[in-house]
Amino acid sequence: MMFFDLSIVEAAAGLRRREFSARELVGAHVDAVASLNKRLNAFITETPELALAQADAADVALAAGTAGPLAGIPLAIKDLFCTEGVRTTAASRMLANFVPPYESTVTANLLRDGAVFLGKANLDEFAMGSSNMTSAFGPVENPWQRAGSNAILVPGGSSGGSAASVAARIAMGATGTDTGGSIRQPAAFCGVAGIKPTYGRCSRWGIVAFASSLDQAGAFGRSVADCAVLLGSMAGFDPKDSTSVDRPVPDYVAAARRGVRGLRIGVPREYRMDGMNADVEALWQSGLRWLRDAGAEIVDVSLPHTKYGLATYYIVAPAEASSNLARYDGVRFGVREDGEDLIDLYERTRETGFGDEVKRRIMIGTYVLSAGYYDAYYLRAQKVRALILKDFTDAFARVDALLTPTAPTAAFAQGEKMDDPIAMYLNDVFTVPASMAGVPGMSVPAGPDAQGLPLGLQVIGRPFDEETVFAVSQVIEDAAGFSAKPQVRAGA
């Protein structure tokens, strides 16, 4: 039995027809993780015994007819979601020994539906990065390689381990979080689908906080339909998160089959940048043609404050991070570095516990919030953020969804863009505006570039209209017919 090319939808059907057991399906994935993770480093912590026990429970539930929709489906969980009794590190030395006494709401929802957890996926430290190079547990290798080259490529970030594990077929799906592009950009780099839903759609309770007004959980899958299944399980109202929104979770799987006939799809002209990568530009045009052929109307729109998205983000996100990460002081949890007095203990703990990028962002955030600079930086950024939201609100008065590239290029090599933080930040130029506005966005693999690497297209929707995002994404997926597989994968 060949398990590694099944989608979640196909595997769930196979399990219900008793063509194979959850034990067999999960066992194959546990073995694949054990064998390929040495190379990919996609998991910080593997939990094979737990996964097999969960698989056995799924088999019992399947036999009894009480199985949830994800019974027996093996997933990777980004190591930013607290998992009860399983170490949760946020890829930081600071939390290298942290074992949460509780389960995040999103992972609890997946467990309720029978999902199996293979382990905790690698990420950029505290989700701060676009390459997975800032992880204290080492970088993740992208399972894809450029044609004719064995240079090791980055999987994107911050949810790099999640995207790489799904692409390499060692996990059938994965959770991620997205603050400025941390689901969509790695999905594009690894040739998988990834959705960041509307801010408020998934509970943030139990997710290690980075920038609380932006952080949102979402899903990776090898198909749009698989993402729809996962998000349907993860989403929902949670009284424990004050920004969780109390509205019903629609049937995303059904929504993905709606098609785009009669929809108006916007093309934001500010996303066409000078010196844009020719392959990215060509793929964008193909995407618009596919949607037009499927019955959508293509409309030019303007999002005039697009160029200020990144700079706004790099004030708002570090400001919130400097506040959120104040809790890591060596007193209640995490590592401690002893000092001469309490202040010295704090300062030594935070010097050794945090990596360079995290310290940089905390210091930027501290500065922009400090007396005398708050109005010039933070308050001004919040006002520009309001203008960015207004751009989207105005556009969505005229169109049902937007189509853009996900990232400016395909995956780059480890070591590239490492010397200049701003060069790294520019990866998120197309994903950050939707984060600032809180609207849903999805990356769909749509084609290879000239070097054979996957490129993604991004579909952006109205607040809480993930249904249209899925419908548009499904049409792109069907028309693109992107079926190439990465060089490093299970079952190869």
């Binding site: 408020g200 007004s213 004030i315 060596g330 995490g334 704090y346 030594r348 310290k359 940089r360 001004r380």
Partner: protein, 95 residues
């Protein structure tokens, strides 16, 4: 706006991050580079624009003011770097 070494040390102090003297020049360069780049926001006309705090676009919910959780000090203390009985322990603060 450009940070001088004293300001870099002051920010580090506010952020409770120890910075060795020989790391200050590198940090100063990196932080100034980033701050110079975000300076571009000064060209945006924000006159009369109300600041946007979050993406939820909704008023925060109020809940009943009742105890809904707690009562497991041992589970909380399990991750403490140091403890004394049912308390977190730190170096002596008051002489």
């Amino acid at each position: 706006m450009s940070l001088d070494p004293a300001t870099v040390r002051r920010i580090a102090r506010l952020a409770r991050i120890r910075v060795e003297d020989d790391a200050v020049p590198r940090l100063q360069g990196e932080l100034n580079n980033i701050l110079g780049w975000i300076e571009q926001l000064s060209e945006v006309d924000v006159e009369g624009v109300a600041p946007l705090t979050g993406g939820a676009q909704i008023a925060l919910r109020l809940r009943e003011d009742v105890v809904t959780d707690g009562g497991y000090a041992e589970r909380i203390l399990a991750n403490a770097p140091d403890r004394a009985g049912a308390f977190f322990a730190v170096p002596k603060v008051v002489e």
